[in-house]
Assembly symmetry: C2
Amino acid sequence: MKKIQIKKAVSKNFKKHNHKLCYETSMKAFHKNCLEKNLKLTPLRLKVFELLLKDHRAIGAYQILDMLSKEGFSSTPPIAYRVLDFLIEQGFAHKIERFNAFIACSHPGSKHSPTFMICRKCDKVAEMCEKDSRLKLDKKSLSEFQIEESVIEIIGICKSCNQLETIKC
Amino acid sequence: MKKIQIKKAVSKNFKKHNHKLCYETSMKAFHKNCLEKNLKLTPLRLKVFELLLKDHRAIGAYQILDMLSKEGFSSTPPIAYRVLDFLIEQGFAHKIERFNAFIACSHPGSKHSPTFMICRKCDKVAEMCEKDSRLKLDKKSLSEFQIEESVIEIIGICKSCNQLETIKC
DNA sequence: AAATTAATGTTATAATATAACATTGACTTA
DNA sequence: TAAGTCAATGTTATATTATAACATTAATTT
């Protein structure tokens, strides 16, 4: 059962799918990881992670603050940025640099630099695992530069949005 | 002569090199391109491009404004952002998303999405051409997503900085 | 020379992010 | 368990990055 979920292509994020399953799987992994690493899973952290999991769209810090405010949480900027720092540091979330926005990690557990596909029509994001996205640099560059992290964000149109366009025309 | 310059690896940006040559080659290409495309090469645009060419470091819009101000140009934010928009749109400059900073393009002439190597010690940047950096996506992803642009920024330590560190230790 | 358009100038403000310090609450340890 | 410690949250202020909207100037066309 779990195996089937893991094997699904990231492109499912752009399509109709059983999102409740996404949500629950991620939330379970979050709990498990916090327990294992002895990280404090506070109501605020839980709520922000929950907000990031809502759909497969990245959200801005100030959107998060709005939502926190509506739910009775304190909501000055540092509140959001601190929790986001924690989530990113621990590998539970990522920042999409191109849009100054944040998204839950699809492969949580440790810090890493994934590749994102971002649809500019529906704004949905898919995080690709290393297996599905590899940056090939030439030998010379590899030998002359010690890579520590990478920002790889691909912007375009997902299949669902593309089909909608085709139908309209 | 010119051929030798073109063939040099991007990693030269991280080392001591004849920067006057970089500057002149880029400036010549800028002039040539503007002429060919009938773009107006105004004093302001020229100055901003010149600032971006100073060394191989990305600079922020407000740094540009400071420098413009010192040289007697008007220097309110839109001044910088408009020229930067122009330069980026025409393929003469790029934005480094990770650092909200801007850099002259090394392969000017048309809009494109290059790969950048950015040294976090010396802040120097090298723009790689397509030949030296390829993002390999799996077949499924490629078929399900129509790529329009990409942000690829590799952060790490360049060889020069690495060697300095080694010597110190 | 008048009309048009592109570029620059200016004012105001929006959007994103961090610094610095205060308070609370949980956890240790004496 | 009371005192001490530290991590998390709360709060105020401000820094940094970016854009909207409108005015003026300069170049180009008619």
